[in-house]
Symmetry: none
Subunit: 123 residues, 2 copies
């Protein structure tokens, strides 16, 4: 995790952590590690580790309330990561002259597309 961008991307790369992040964002008052672990398949310590990762990357912050520690989501701090992606995607599509943008969105890419030349299918 060298820079902040890598931290955010790495934090969101784990499905469990994303699910935890969602659960956190659904609670305006935040949640504790014990709360989030109660009912899930992972242990409380694992949840606590995930929450610490989120806090370290700025995607959550802590607030002490008595003897428990509430984690609050900070989804806005993930926006630079989304912006990074959008910049590239936008730049690329602009370079293609926005003509392939329409027919180039089958959702996923064809894994084995060797030998094929499918560029510039203009009109």
């Amino acid at each position: 995790m060298s820079d902040a961008l890598s931290g955010v991307f790495a934090a969101l790369a784990d499905p469990t952590r994303r699910r935890l992040f969602d659960a956190l964002a659904a609670r305006p008052d935040g949640a504790t590690a014990t709360e989030l672990a109660r009912g899930g398949p992972v242990s409380r310590q694992a949840v606590a580790k995930h929450l610490q990762v989120l806090r370290r990357t700025g995607l959550a912050e802590t607030r002490r309330d008595g003897r428990e520690v509430r984690y609050l989501a900070r989804p806005s701090n993930a926006r630079p990561a989304a912006a990074w992606i959008d910049e590239r995607a936008l730049a690329w599509e602009r370079r293609l002259g926005r003509l392939s943008t329409l027919l180039d969105s089958p959702g996923m890419v064809d894994p084995v597309r060797h030998g094929e030349n499918e560029r510039a299918p203009r009109d």
Copy 2:
């Protein structure tokens, strides 16, 4: 890397791979692993591995040209990841906007709806 989203996030989490992705996106005709490795600190095989990761996650595609393999960037396929982030950030900011409708958000489904008892009934 269970789902596609995790794949994209994990792929972009590495700074070397992001830099490679940028270098790829800067070349409209793509580039080969040997080309990208020439001048960089990492070996050709390491670059090839990174490119394969990008290809597996849909962020790049390959095109055979004689005996060399050119990789072409596909930044548009990273958009779902950016959209995932933006959805959360937007939802959060919107919720901060209308504090009165905090308690009833019928459109929002709660991922972890275990036996939660809401404490701290702040008046």
